[in-house]
Amino acid sequence: MGKFNKAGGREMPELNTSSLPDLVFAFLFFIMMVTTMREVTLKVVFRAPQATELQKLEKKSLVTFLYVGEPTVEFRAKMGSETRLQLNDQFAEISEIQDYIAQEKSSMKEEDAPFMTVSIKADRETRMGVISDVKQALREAYALKISYSAQTRVN
């Protein structure tokens, strides 16, 4: 029959996929809006200490990070190689912690404020004197939930 003689003449109707990339992009932007990007450029070098009894930090939006370590190479000339503290994006003194915590707390929802956790990311060779000072400052600021950030130790 003539109808079947057109060998290969028929093509699969093509789906119009030109809008799919747009959809994907819309999705990507949605995710980017929703997730809180808390990446900061590190100005201190730190290698986290190692431990085994680690717990994951829940609710990332309630976590504030404090970095303690030596300044990176490009800041050495200005800041020296003493252990320094980094809050958000800049170097800070221990006396500034309290204001910083208060500021972070006020930016949270009121019911979330008591659950605020401060994650101390300190270099493994830091002297405890600095850490103790930081802890005292956190106590004064009523940020009582802390977490000593560490890596999982592989035996």
Partner: protein, 195 residues
């Protein structure tokens, strides 16, 4: 047929969106997987400035002092020990299996699921460190203390419920925590001399 001009077949692009999605998902997952881990602790609330420092009355048998000096050596109840020995020592201290009179006293506590249990309710592990102690050494000790509690809790959970502590539901976890309450006290920082 052969004389007819051949049409160049269009590349089937239906799957490119799938590929894009897969890339997207891959990045999503890997970025959120990178969660921060750490040893959670609770700091004591600040002491009001005008309040006098008063020493709490704790019986000597109930307290275990762990000191770390500036060369990262550990002194536990007045003897030098290695970090590997610390966990067992702490476990023995918390549990006091033989009712040793130099180890914490036991008290009868009514625990849900378990009934009345003998618990070393008033034990305190006092952790003190020098200003010159290395952070890693401090974390090591904190880690061993946490490990001691975890093992004791896992033990009792496994005996009672056949599961480890983290797999229990909230009520059961609370009960186990009553048996082994975590009591680590960190002394007010003191300056023990130079760096």
């Amino acid at each position: 047929m052969a004389s007819k001009k051949r049409k160049a077949p269009g590349i089937n692009a239906t799957s490119s969106a799938d590929i894009a999605f897969m890339l997207l998902l891959f990045f999503l997952l890997t970025s959120s997987m990178d969660t921060d881990k750490g040893l959670p602790r609770r700091l004591p609330p600040p002491v009001p400035k005008d309040q006098e420092k008063k020493d709490m009355d704790i019986k000597k048998r109930n307290i275990m002092v762990v000191l770390i000096n500036s060369s990262n050596q550990i002194l536990c109840d007045n003897e030098y020990i290695e970090i590997s020995q610390l966990k067992d020592k702490v476990k023995e201290f918390i549990d006091n299996p033989y009712n040793d009179e130099h180890k914490p006293e036991k008290m009868a506590v009514d625990v849900p699921y378990f009934g009345e249990m003998q618990v070393t309710k008033n034990h305190v592990i006092s952790l003190q460190n020098d200003r010159g102690t290395e952070y890693q050494a401090y974390i090591n000790v904190q880690n061993e203390l946490a490990a001691a509690y975890t093992e004791l809790r896992d033990d009792v959970s496994r005996r009672k419920f056949g599961k480890i502590f983290v797999e229990l539901d909230e009520e059961q976890q609370k009960a186990v925590q009553l048996i082994y309450p975590q009591k680590i006290s960190e002394a007010e920082p003191k300056n023990y001399g130079g760096k």
